[in-house]
Amino acid sequence: MNRILLTGNGAAAWGARLAEVDYVPAFPITPQTEIIETLAGWYERGEAKGRLVTLESEHSMVTAAGAAAATGVRVFTATSSQGLLYAMEMLYAVPGWRAPFVMVNVSRGVATPITLESDHTDILAARDSGFLQIHCASCQEVLDSVLIAYRVAEDARVRLPAIVNQDGFTLSFTREPVEMPDLEAVRRFLPAYDPQGVEFRASRPVSQAVAVLGGSQYSYFRYEVHLAAMNALGVYEEAARDFDAQFGRHHPAVEAYRCDDAEIVFYMVGAFATKAQDAVDRLREAGHKVGLVRPRVLRPYPEAALRTLLLGRRAVIVVDQNLSMGKGGVHYAELASALYGCGGAPMLLSYVGGLGGRDIGAEEFFEMAAEARKAAETGAVPELRLLYTAGELREIRKLQAIANAERRQLGGRT
């Protein structure tokens, strides 16, 4: 096998290239842009066959992606953050077209304040759209997940678009060794696109995405999408098994790290989970029975797998790299709903951190583990904690002091 150094963005582009996508509607946005630049370069130099068209917005981009998929070609697209939010109307619309395609989202914090670095509030805004979601923690996973995503999305039991998520900067701009699958092997794993009758042809006229009158018809079609998304759990397992057989890499829907005898388990999504992994190793060295659970598939939600992995633990530490204003971490709430009322349900501790690329330090993981141990002993669950250090707050206060001093100097009011 061929191993090369690739950024997460390069891996995403290679995923699309190996999937032999026909069409790439595009729009530039940091930190995603390298993906479409890479594909555009290949197409222009004739190194790969495909057509890339830059639309004037992500809203139009997702419309074109859905429309082309509904016409019967394999489509790839990519975006980030504000772009994902700008496209949101269409993200909710196109799953109902039952015309699958794959979009890579390169996670980035959402405004306000405007920023470039990563968290997952953007992608979780698409949580209820009908797109499947696969979340990656390495560049290898980005490439592999694009291929798996096509296989699952195009399956006759699913027929839904899928988002492959990677963290901006942490993965998108970080070079890692990536094993390049052989194209012939990819073709065996992922057959050529089959529109399965969802296509515009002069001889077989169809109407797509038509209006309905009344809640009964509406509910029927909405339930169909939900049930198709639920089918994707089993289809994903098949695809992951086949992928492992073909390429020797297993990407389960939920990854467990050193969990066998773990009493306390970290629960994280995306690239920052590797920081938790490192903390687990160090806590293990110190004699603590700690593990990590990282769901890769978030839609459909792998509830059964999570129950199997987490029931019977003493405590689960959910670290959310997202923030639902006025509620807290999204993953915490979802996991609580999955475990509530089950025998052996662990205590759940909720932390929010890593917003806008803010690091989560090893000491913070150690502190979380200590709090979890204490909670397990006393039975008292601490309230949601927003990770922020006294040092960070001091830095903010310094900046405010400078701003005020400057304003005074210039004669303004403080």
């Binding site: 026909d22 069409y23 509607p25 057509r51 068209v53 639309l55 004037e56 917005s57 809203h59 139009s60 981009m61 419309t63 074109a64 992606a65 859905g66 429309a67 082309a68 998929a69 509904a70 016409t71 019967g72 070609v73 109307e89 269409m90 619309a93 077209w97 515009f200 042809r201 002069a202 001889s203 006229p205 169809v206 109407s207 797509q208 995405a209 038509v210 209006a211 309905v212 009158l213 018809q217």
Partner: protein, 302 residues
């Protein structure tokens, strides 16, 4: 200018392609125009629809269309046409479909979408040289939601959000589109079926971005008896309020120059949305202003 096969009313198609029994209002000027347009375009078309009155044409499990239909959103129908066209081109290039399976992408959008949030996607589709037709049915307001003023509402018209008459001006969309230098732009109206048919035939024979604006008299939004739709449409042309014209090869040519022009008042009086210009007392200044604007337009018209 491209010759057309249609030269007189006798040449108009006698078979009507668009199905009947739709959810449109009685006397709908948009549906009138669409019937006539569809007779020329035929069923090898994918109608890519933006949110508006016509969205209710295809209503599960019924459609009046013989070809394809794809509802998109209010803002992005032109991007939908891009996706359909690109996909069909790719399928042709790769030999995955034959030429006889190809279809024409046709955007169908109201003025609310076209003059407002759909403009950016349409502008971009034109600049990319997309091979598609765009049909805007213009009933001069957000008709599907009960006629609020839009970017297409004429000055002085009463809408549900401008009870004393719209204070803004109808946007000159024709010029905006023509400024992009697309293959073709034309105005049409259902009440002038021969002029409409010639233009649609011409557009259908061309490649590239082709954009059609149909003024669509609207009984419910404009407040008149549905049986008046054709007469009001003719008055819109005869008074010079709705110039029939086309943009082709960098030039704008009027396909009808009304001489003499009927006073605009004769057109305005037919519609409840302008009743406040005449009662309880005549608003002479506003009437004169509206007439002056129409006169100014025709001073230089060719």
């Amino acid at each position: 200018m491209t010759e057309t096969a249609i030269r007189s009313m006798k040449d108009l198609p006698s078979a009507h392609l668009l199905g009947t029994g739709t959810a449109m209002c009685a006397g709908c000027g948009s549906l009138e125009a669409l019937h006539e347009i569809y007779d020329i375009l035929g069923g090898r078309t994918v109608f890519v629809n933006a949110a508006g009155c016509m969205t209710l044409l295809s209503n599960y499990p019924f459609t009046p269309f013989r070809g394809g239909w794809l509802y998109t959103s209010m803002a992005s129908a032109a991007a939908g046409a891009q996706g359909v066209r690109d996909a069909l081109d790719i399928l042709r290039e790769k030999g995955r479909i034959t030429a006889d399976e190809d279809m024409t992408a046709v955007v169908l959008a109201g003025d609310g979408s076209t003059y407002g949030m759909g403009m950016s996607a349409t502008s971009a589709a034109i600049e990319r040289g997309l091979d598609f037709l765009y049909i805007c049915y213009d009933n001069e307001g957000y008709g599907n939601t009960g006629q609020q003023y839009s970017g297409a509402t004429p000055h002085g018209a009463k809408t549900t959000t401008s009870a004393r008459g719209y204070s803004g001006e109808k946007k000159d969309l024709f010029s905006i589109w023509a400024a992009h230098r697309p293959a073709y732009v034309a105005t049409v109206i259902g009440a002038e079926p021969l002029d409409l048919a010639k233009k649609i035939e011409r557009a259908a024979r061309m490649k590239g971005p082709r954009l059609i604006m149909a003024l669509a008299p609207c009984p419910t939004g404009w407040d008149y008896d549905p049986k008046e739709t054709v007469d009001i449409g003719r008055l819109a042309v005869a008074s010079g309020v709705w110039p029939l014209k086309e943009y082709l090869d960098g030039r704008v040519v009027h396909t009808r120059i009304p001489r003499p022009r009927v006073p605009v008042e004769a057109y305005l009086k037919t519609q409840g949305r302008f009743a406040h210009l005449f009662a309880p007392q005549r608003n002479e200044a506003l009437l004169a202003g509206i007439q002056a604007r129409v006169d100014a337009y025709w001073t230089d018209a060719r």
